[in-house]
Symmetry: C2
Subunit: 157 residues, 2 copies
């Protein structure tokens, strides 16, 4: 786990954002045995960062394992949770894998699809750095908020 120190530093400002806090909350939610209890926030989020070097070491084609799948769900659960906090409406995530790491992640609010993403290479799920993860999440959140604003009736169904 020596890459951890390289990938995320403990005083990364991103760790102070609501999104990172939600990610940590979601990670703790699936940590049934309390293994993360005395882990730093940086260490808990470490597996979401895949540097180029780390990515190169993972085969190009592969089936995602349970742990990777759980991480993908944590990520979209966190996004859904943020959408919920901002809109006050229930946001339901759904992650579906078809084969060899291909799939679709969807978040619905009422009858409105506020996020719809094709997943590829799920077995190599990760972001080059923490800031990138937050950047992508922010884009998804902005898009979702715009859709809810544009079609409040559908979101309220």
């Amino acid at each position: 786990m020596s890459e951890a120190a390289v990938a995320i530093v403990d005083d990364d400002p991103v760790l102070e954002t609501d999104f990172a806090k939600e990610m940590v909350r979601q990670m703790r939610a699936i940590d049934s045995y309390g293994s993360y209890d005395d882990w730093s926030v940086a260490k808990i989020l470490m597996p979401f960062v895949l540097t180029k070097q780390m990515r190169r070491e993972i085969p190009i084609v592969g089936d995602p394992d349970e742990v990777t799948m759980a991480r993908v769900k944590v990520y979209y659960n966190a996004i859904a949770s943020m959408i919920e906090a901002r809109s006050g409406l229930m946001a339901v995530p759904m992650v579906h894998l078809s084969h060899e790491g291909f799939g679709r992640a969807l978040i619905t609010v009422g009858k409105l699809v506020v996020m719809d993403k094709t997943l590829r290479d799920v077995h190599r799920f990760g972001f080059p750095e923490l800031a990138k993860m937050k950047e992508e999440a922010d884009k998804l959140l902005t898009k979702a908020a715009e859709l809810i604003d544009a079609f409040p009736e559908v979101a309220a169904l």
Copy 2:
């Protein structure tokens, strides 16, 4: 397979409907080895009918097997295909199972969720008779059409 004759008769008028034809088309689509090639339409749709007696013989709790899952997908693919034919818009089905046969089936058209169904007891998926299957499908199709009519902008996104 003696129940087949009991469950669906070859001259059942439902077999002549567009929905039954679509179901057969979807079943043939997953029949990679052409096993159904010389089967009657009634025989192909037979597994979708679970009489009370047949249902009683299946354990109450269980994990759905691949074949049952494939059937559930055929059913929702057929619904999506009918929505597409009627609306002229692409309808995308997504069936997700969480555990022990619980899950969610969703059909989206653009950014609109036109069908959203909680799945239970998927290992016992089936309808008491063919007419019931068509009846439920018709309900889902009507609901979907109403939603598309009400929110054409969202469906076109």
